[in-house]
C-alpha cells in the first residue's frame, strides 16, 4: 500500500476536512511499475496505420482501453520494433477532436460548421446525392480521392459503377513516377514496402532519401545492419540529412540535377565496361540504344551540371561497379519532384540493371505472388465512362491524376460535379491548395470519410466518421515484397468509439442504398475477409490469433543463367523502352534541365520528421511535444549576410504572393545557398484540430506551382521558389551556385585515385563528339548567369 493511499484512507477517517481533498488529489491512479507487474492484460495483434509501412503491432488492452502498443515480434519486417508514431498510435482513438458522428454542413463551405445527423440520414443523403449526379451527368462525373488499405472498397465500387475518375494521391503526389520508371524497365514496381535487400548490400546509394528522419521501422533496421556490416553509404542530397551524416560520401547535389548524375554514372559504367555483362546480355534489351543516348553525359559535364566534384562522381561509379551486384540504388519513395520524375526513375532503374542488382542479394528482391479472393464488387460488363485525363499521361495507375479531377471540376464545362474523399486531406496533400479550394467551391457536393476533421474536411458537405485503425477491420494486407511473403490482418483491438464505422460497413451501405446489391455481398467485413483469405486456406479467425500468416518461401533472387520472363512487353529488362517511344516519351532517359531559382530566391524542399506522418499526426500531443513545429533550414552564409542568425524568424513568400510564417531559421552550413528545407505536414488551419492548429507552417500552402510528370501525371512539388523576409522587412537572399563548378563533398577521401583506381583496360572517359552539347539549366527568369559571377 502506498503512502498516499494510506493517507487517503486516514484522511477520510480523521484528518481535518480541509486536508482531505488535497490528499485525495495527491493519490495517484497506479504508476507504471504497478502496471508492468500486474497480471498481463490481453495483447491483440494488428497492423499499424500511423504510416504506410504497416508494421505489426501488439495492443495491450485492459477494460476496453488500449494501454500500450508494442511491435509484434512475429512480423517479418518490423520484428517487434516500432517507431515513435506507432507506439503513440493509441492517442488516435482517444483524440478528443476526432470525428464522432455523421455531420452535415450548416455554414459556408470552408467555414467548418456542421450539425450532427444520424447514420441513416447521412447514408440516405449520400446515396441520393450520388444517385442524382450519376443520373444527370453519368458515373464519370464523380471524382474519388482515396488512400489506404481499405480504399479498395470504394475504388472497387466506383469501378463497378463505371467511373474511371478516381485519384490516389499516394501515386501522383508521391511514389507514382518512381513505380512507373521501374515498371517500364523491369515490368514490376519496387512496391511498398520496397523490396530493398539493404542488410546484404555492400554499397547503398540514397538519392534524396533521408532514412532516419523518414522512419519506416524495417528500413531503419536494415540500414543500421548495413552500417554495421561496413556497407559503403553514399547519399545524394542538397542538405545534410541524418543519413548523409552517416555516409562515407555525401554528394551535395544541385537540386534538379539528379538525372544528370545518374546518366553520368550509367555512361561511366558503359564506357569503362564496368556493368554486369552476363546479366545484361542475358536479361536486358536496348543496350546499344542506351549507349548511344548517354554517351554525351561525361563526368565533366555532370560535374558542371550537378556541381559535384568530378572525381567523386567517377569514384563512386567505379565503387558501384566493384561491389556489383550487391549494390542498392535505393529507389526512394516520394518521387514527385520536378516533373521529369519518371525519366529520373528510369535512369535509376537502368543503373540498377547495369549493376545487375535487380533480383540479386543486396539489391532488390523479386516479388512473390499471393492469390487472394475476388474484389468486393463484380467487374462491370458495360462501358466505362470517359476519363477526364483521356489522351494524357499514358502511365497513370489507380485511376487518373489528382489534378485532372481538380481541373475538370472548374470552369463552364466542368465534367466533375461531385467529390468523394476517403482518408485524404486534399488541402495538405494536393499541390496548389488555392486551386483545390476553388474547385471545392464549384462542385455540387463533397463527402468525406475520415477519422479527424482535417483542414480538407472544413470544405465537406457531409462528413462520415470512420473507425480508427485500432477499431476496425481493413482489407487484408498481402506482403509480396519480402523473401518470406505473408498476409497480415488489421483488426479492431477495441470497439469503435462513438458512431465511427468500419470502411466495409460504410461502402456496403452506400452501394446497397444505390441498389447495387451484387456488391459487398458479405453481410460484414469478417465474412468478406474469410472469402478473401479462402485461396490461402486460412480463415480470418486463424489469422487474427497471431496477426501474421507466413506463406511458403519463394525464391527472392535470380540465379544467373536461369530463364526469367520479365513482365515488360519484350519479356526482358528494357533499357530502351519501346512502349515509351510509342506513347511519345523519350525511350531512353535524357537530362531535361529544370528551372533554377532566380537570384535572391530559394528552392523550397521538404521532408519528414520521425515523429510525424505527413499531416496526420500533428493532433497527437505525445508526438507534438517532441516535434511541435517545423523549422526552416537556410544556409548560414546567406543568413549571416543579413545580420541574422540561428533561431531568428522569417516569413516565406512564393512567386504568387502566398506568404506564410513566421518560421524559425536553422542557420546551417549543411544546406546549399539556393535551397531551403522544412518538414512537411505542419500548419493545419483546421480549427477543429486543437493541437495541430496553427503550429508550424504549411509548406503545401506554398505549392501553387507544380510541374507535371508527363508519363504519370505526377505533380512535381520542388519547383516552387520562395523568398524569405523578416518581420522588419529584411530579405535573406538566396545565392544560386551557378558560378561554383565544383563543390567539395563531405568527408571526401583525400586520394581518390588510390581508393578508386580506374580499371586497367580503359582510360578515363573522354568524349570528342561535336554533337555533345550538353543542355544548360534554364533559369526561371531571363538573366545572365555570368553577370552574377
Amino acid at each position: 500500500m502506498k503512502r498516499r493511499e494510506l493517507l487517503k484512507a486516514l484522511g477520510t477517517a480523521a484528518i481535518a476536512p480541509s486536508i482531505v481533498p488535497t490528499i485525495a488529489r495527491a493519490g495517484s491512479p497506479g504508476i507504471g511499475k504497478d502496471r508492468a507487474t500486474a497480471e498481463p492484460a490481453e495483447e491483440i495483434p494488428s497492423l499499424c496505420d500511423m504510416c504506410f509501412w504497416r508494421c505489426g503491432i501488439l495492443a495491450t488492452v485492459r477494460d476496453g482501453k488500449i494501454i500500450r502498443i508494442r511491435g509484434n515480434p512475429n512480423h517479418p519486417r518490423s520484428q517487434g520494433r516500432l517507431c515513435a508514431r506507432g507506439i503513440a498510435g493509441r492517442y488516435q482513438v482517444d483524440d478528443p477532436d476526432r470525428l464522432k458522428y455523421p455531420l452535415l454542413r450548416v455554414g459556408e463551405r470552408g467555414e467548418g460548421k456542421w450539425k450532427r445527423i444520424s447514420w441513416d440520414e447521412a447514408l440516405d443523403l449520400w446515396a441520393s446525392k450520388i444517385g442524382e449526379t450519376i443520373e444527370k451527368h453519368g458515373p464519370g462525373s464523380i471524382g474519388l480521392f482515396s488512400h489506404g488499405l481499405s480504399s479498395r472498397f470504394m475504388n472497387a465500387f466506383m469501378l463497378h459503377l463505371g467511373n474511371p475518375n478516381r485519384a490516389v494521391p499516394s501515386f501522383g503526389q508521391c511514389r507514382g513516377p518512381r513505380d512507373i520508371g521501374f515498371e517500364l524497365t523491369f515490368g514490376d514496381r519496387p512496391g511498398s514496402p520496397e523490396r530493398h535487400d539493404m542488410a546484404r548490400s555492400k554499397m547503398i546509394v540514397l538519392i534524396g532519401s533521408h532514412i532516419g528522419e523518414n522512419v519506416q521501422t524495417g528500413q531503419v533496421a536494415e540500414l543500421s545492419k548495413a552500417i554495421d556490416n561496413g556497407t559503403r553509404l553514399v547519399v545524394v542530397d542538397p542538405r545534410m540529412s541524418v543519413s548523409a551524416s552517416k555516409a562515407a560520401r555525401w554528394l551535395q547535389i544541385r537540386p534538379g540535377t539528379d538525372t544528370a548524375l545518374l546518366l553520368a554514372w550509367i555512361n561511366l559504367l558503359l564506357t569503362e565496361e564496368l556493368y554486369d555483362k552476363d546479366y545484361i546480355d542475358r536479361y536486358a534489351t536496348g543496350l546499344e540504344e542506351l549507349r548511344q543516348s548517354v554517351h554525351c553525359y561525361t563526368p565533366d559535364w555532370a560535374a558542371e551540371t550537378t556541381q559535384l566534384p568530378r572525381d567523386a562522381i567517377i569514384a563512386e561509379a567505379r565503387e558501384m561497379a566493384r561491389q556489383k551486384p550487391n549494390v542498392l540504388i535505393h529507389c526512394g519513395r516520394s518521387s514527385a519532384w520536378y516533373g521529369n520524375d519518371t525519366q529520373r526513375s528510369r535512369a535509376m532503374a537502368i543503373l540498377v540493371a547495369l549493376l545487375g542488382s535487380w533480383g540479386r542479394p543486396g539489391g532488390y528482391y523479386l516479388r512473390s505472388d499471393i492469390d487472394l479472393g475476388p474484389l468486393p464488387c463484380p467487374k462491370r460488363h458495360g462501358e466505362m465512362a470517359e476519363s477526364v485525363a483521356t489522351g494524357r499521361h499514358a502511365f497513370t495507375r489507380f485511376g487518373v491524376a489528382s489534378q485532372e479531377i481538380v481541373e475538370a471540376s472548374i470552369g463552364e464545362d466542368a465534367r466533375i460535379k461531385q467529390w468523394m474523399f476517403y482518408a485524404v486531406n486534399p488541402i495538405q496533400s494536393l499541390p496548389d491548395p488555392r486551386k483545390t479550394r476553388e474547385a471545392m467551391q464549384k462542385v455540387d457536393f463533397i463527402s468525406m470519410v475520415d477519422i479527424v476533421p482535417t483542414e480538407g474536411a472544413m470544405w465537406a458537405d457531409l462528413i462520415l466518421p470512420e473507425a480508427t485503425y485500432l477499431e476496425r477491420h481493413d482489407d487484408i494486407l498481402a506482403v509480396k515484397n519480402h523473401p518470406r511473403p505473408f498476409v497480415a490482418l488489421r483488426q479492431p483491438v477495441v470497439p469503435p468509439r462513438f458512431e465511427a464505422k468500419d470502411p466495409y460497413w460504410i461502402a456496403r451501405r452506400l452501394a446497397h442504398r444505390l441498389g447495387h446489391t451484387d456488391c459487398f455481398i458479405h453481410p460484414d467485413v469478417k465474412k468478406y475477409l474469410d472469402a478473401t483469405l479462402a485461396p490461402l486456406g486460412i480463415t480470418r479467425t486463424e489469422l487474427a490469433e497471431k496477426g501474421i500468416h507466413l506463406l511458403d518461401e519463394q525464391r527472392p533472387f535470380i540465379h544467373l543463367g536461369e530463364e526469367i520472363h520479365f513482365k515488360t512487353p519484350s519479356g526482358k529488362i528494357e533499357l530502351y523502352s519501346e512502349v515509351m517511344q510509342r506513347k511519345g516519351y523519350h525511350p531512353v532517359p535524357i537530362f531535361e534541365p529544370v528551372s533554377q531559382p532566380p537570384m535572391g530566391w530559394f528552392r523550397l524542399t521538404t521532408g519528414r520528421s520521425p515523429y510525424h506522418s505527413f499531416a496526420r499526426t500533428q493532433n497527437i500531443e505525445r508526438l507534438m511535444r517532441k516535434d511541435p513545429r517545423n523549422v526552416l533550414w537556410v544556409n548560414e552564409e546567406v543568413v549571416r549576410a543579413k545580420g541574422l542568425s540561428d533561431g531568428d524568424e522569417v516569413f516565406i513568400e512564393n512567386k504568387d504572393g502566398v506568404r506564410t510564417g513566421p518560421i524559425r531559421i536553422l542557420a546551417t552550413p549543411a544546406i546549399r545557398t539556393d535551397v531551403v528545407y522544412t518538414v512537411h505536414g505542419f500548419g493545419s488551419r483546421s480549427h477543429a484540430l486543437k493541437r495541430a492548429h496553427g503550429r508550424g507552417i504549411s509548406d503545401n500552402a506554398l505549392t501553387n506551382r507544380f510541374k507535371i510528370d508527363p508519363p504519370t501525371g505526377g505533380t512535381g512539388f520542388r519547383v516552387n521558389f520562395v523568398r524569405l523576409t523578416t518581420r522588419d522587412g529584411k530579405e535573406i537572399e538566396g545565392k544560386t551556385d551557378a558560378c561554383r563548378v565544383e563543390r567539395s563533398a563531405f568527408r571526401t577521401p583525400l586520394n581518390e585515385e588510390e581508393l578508386f583506381p580506374a580499371p586497367e583496360h580503359v582510360d578515363s572517359p573522354k568524349i570528342d563528339d561535336p554533337l555533345c552539347e550538353p543542355e544548360r539549366d534554364t533559369p526561371e527568369f531571363e538573366w545572365d548567369i555570368k553577370d552574377s559571377c
Partner: protein, 477 residues
C-alpha cells in the same frame, strides 16, 4: 549480483525518438516527464563540427552516483543488479537527487509529487524482457545486459567495439551507460552536452540542512544534554543538604496535605499521548535519515531501526500515520474543547511584566542562590509559559512542514525547504524537551509539577509557593 549496463551505438542511431515514446508509454509518463531523451543536433553554424547527430541519454546508473548520498529519506538506492532505483513509496519528492545529477537524468513528477527516473525497466528486465527503449529501437542501437556476464549482449558488444563514457575532468561518476560510434561524432555529442559540475553542490537549503546535521551541531546538542545531567547531579548534592526543606514538597506526603486540582483527566491523557507520539516520531525520524550525508546516529542504531521497522518505506509510512493520528487527535481535542481548555490555556500562556522578572531571577535562583525571592506566578510560571509558547510555535512549524512534505504541493524546492524547517524545528523541540524533562523529572523543586501530570492534583503549599497567583484565584472561587 550483477551490473546492468546499456550501450547506445550512435553509428546506428538515427534519432527517431521511438525510445522516448516507448519509455513514456511503458511508464505512463505525462507529456512533460521523461526518463530518457533524444536531443537532435542538426548541423548548425553554432556547432564545432558539421554533422547531424543526436544526444541520446538516460540515467547512467553510475558507479559513483552522487544521487545516492543526498536522499534525506534514503529512497534512492542501488539494487543488486547495479541499478539505481527510487523507491516510489519512500520518495518524498524533495528533489535533492535531481539537483545533484550532473546529467539531468532525474525529473520531478508534479502529478505524483515524487522523483521520476530510469530504472532500466527493472520490472520488465527481471521478468526476462528487454527495457522498453531497447525492445523498440528500430535501429537496434541500444544494447543492454549484464557487464559481469560474459555472454550478455553488452559484454559481447564490448569485446568488439570501443565505447566511451560521458565524463569530464570535473565530473567522473563512472556511468554504466556508454556511447559507441565514430570518434568525431562522440566528441561532438560529449563536448556539447557535458555533465553539469554545478550539480554536484547542494542548493542553499541543503547546505543548511547538512550543517545542522554536521558533527558540530550534534556536539552542541550533546553539550546541552551533558549540561542537564551535570545540573541534575548538582541538584542531587544540594538535596542532601536541604532534605528537611525538601520534605515539604515530597510526593509521598501529598495525600496527607490539602491539594488543589490542577489538571483535568483529558489534559493528562493528552499530555502523555503527546509524549508517546513525539517519542515515536523522533525514533522513526532518526531512522529515516538514511543517506550517509544526513545520518545523525551511528550505523548500528540506523540498522537496528531499519530492521525493527522492516523498511524505510514502512518507517516513513508509520511516521506519516502517527503524525496524522497525533495531529488529528490534537485538532479534534482543540476543536471540541475550545471554550473549556484551549482559550483558558492560551490565556494562561500570555507573558506579563512579572514573568520577565521571574525569567531574569529564576536561573539565578537555580544555579547561584536559592534564597532569591521569585515574583508570584500564575498557573504556569514564566518558564513554563515560554516553553509552551515555544512548543506551540514549533508544532506549527513541524506540522506545517510535515504536511508540505506529505502532500507534495508541486514544487520540489518547497519540499526541500520544508525538510530543512522540519528538521530545524525538531532539533529545537528536542532541546526544549531536554529542558522540560530535566526540569520536571530531575529538578526537585519542579518535581511536584511532574506528579501533578500523573494525579492531576498538586499540594496547596506547593501551589502557594510556586503558582501563587493561581493559588489565590483558585482559593477565592
Amino acid at each position: 549480483m550483477s551490473r546492468q549496463a546499456m550501450i547506445i551505438d550512435m553509428d546506428r542511431c538515427v534519432g527517431c525518438g521511438a525510445c522516448v515514446i516507448a519509455c513514456q508509454e511503458e511508464w505512463d509518463l505525462p507529456e512533460d516527464s521523461y526518463r530518457n531523451w533524444v536531443r537532435p543536433m542538426p548541423p548548425s553554424s553554432s556547432r564545432s563540427s558539421i554533422m547531424f547527430t543526436h544526444y541520446v541519454g538516460l540515467c547512467g546508473h553510475c558507479e559513483d552516483a552522487p544521487c545516492l548520498d543526498v536522499c534525506p529519506v534514503g529512497a534512492t538506492f542501488r539494487d543488486n543488479c547495479g541499478r539505481i532505483i527510487v523507491d516510489p513509496g519512500t520518495c518524498i519528492g524533495c528533489g535533492y537527487c535531481i539537483e545533484t545529477c550532473p546529467f539531468g537524468a532525474r525529473m520531478y513528477r508534479k502529478d505524483l509529487g515524487r522523483v521520476e527516473k530510469c530504472d532500466f525497466c527493472a520490472p520488465k528486465v527481471d521478468a526476462g524482457q528487454q527495457p522498453a527503449c531497447v525492445a523498440t529501437c528500430p535501429a537496434g542501437s541500444r544494447i543492454f545486459g549484464d557487464l559481469d556476464d560474459k555472454n550478455s549482449a553488452v559484454s559481447r558488444y564490448l569485446s568488439t567495439h570501443h565505447v566511451a563514457k560521458l565524463e569530464t575532468d570535473e565530473v567522473k561518476t563512472k556511468p554504466n551507460v556508454f556511447h559507441a560510434g565514430k570518434k568525431e561524432v562522440l566528441d561532438l555529442i560529449f563536448s556539447e552536452n557535458p555533465p553539469n559540475p554545478q550539480k554536484m553542490h547542494p542548493p542553499i537549503e541543503g547546505k543548511i540542512l547538512a550543517s545542522m546535521i554536521s558533527p558540530g551541531s550534534m556536539g552542541l546538542i550533546g553539550l546541552v544534554i551533558t549540561g542537564a545531567v551535570i545540573s541534575f547531579f548538582r541538584q542531587l548534592l544540594k538535596r542532601k543538604q536541604k532534605e528537611a526543606d525538601a520534605m515539604e514538597t515530597e510526593g509521598e506526603e501529598l495525600s496527607a496535605r490539602p491539594t488543589l486540582k490542577r489538571h483535568d483527566k483529558p489534559i493528562i491523557a493528552l499530555h502523555w499521548f503527546n509524549a508517546l507520539a513525539w517519542l515515536f516520531q523522533l525514533v522513526t525520524g532518526i531512522g529515516l535519515l538514511g543517506a550517509s550525508k544526513y545520518r545523525v546516529t551511528p550505523d548500528l542504531v540506523n540498522n537496528a531501526l531499519l530492521s525493527l521497522f522492516g523498511s524505510r518505506q514502512s518507517m516513513l509510512q508509520l511516521h506519516f500515520i502517527i503524525g496524522a493520528v497525533w495531529l488529528s487527535v490534537l485538532l479534534v481535542f482543540s476543536l471540541f474543547c475550545i471554550r473549556r481548555y484551549l482559550v483558558p490555556f492560551l490565556g494562561e500562556l500570555a507573558l506579563n511584566r512579572t514573568d520577565l522578572r521571574w525569567l531574569w531571577l529564576k536561573p539565578k535562583e537555580m544555579f547561584l542562590s536559592s534564597k532569591i525571592e521569585l515574583p508570584p506566578q500564575g498557573k504556569y510560571n514564566a518558564g513554563q509559559k515560554l516553553f509552551g509558547i515555544g512548543i506551540a510555535v514549533l508544532i506549527v512549524l513541524i506540522v506545517g512542514s510535515g504536511l508540505v512534505i506529505t502532500l507534495a504541493p508541486g514544487s520540489e524546492e518547497i519540499i526541500r525547504w520544508a525538510i530543512t524547517v522540519h528538521f530545524a524545528a525538531v532539533m529545537t523541540a528536542v532541546a526544549f524537551l531536554v529542558l522540560h524533562i530535566y526540569m520536571t523529572v530531575f529538578n526537585s523543586t519542579e518535581r511536584p509539577a511532574f506528579f501533578s501530570m500523573l494525579s492531576g492534583r498538586i499540594s496547596e503549599s506547593y501551589a502557594r509557593k510556586h503558582n501563587h497567583l493561581w493559588w489565590e484565584k483558585t482559593k477565592s472561587h
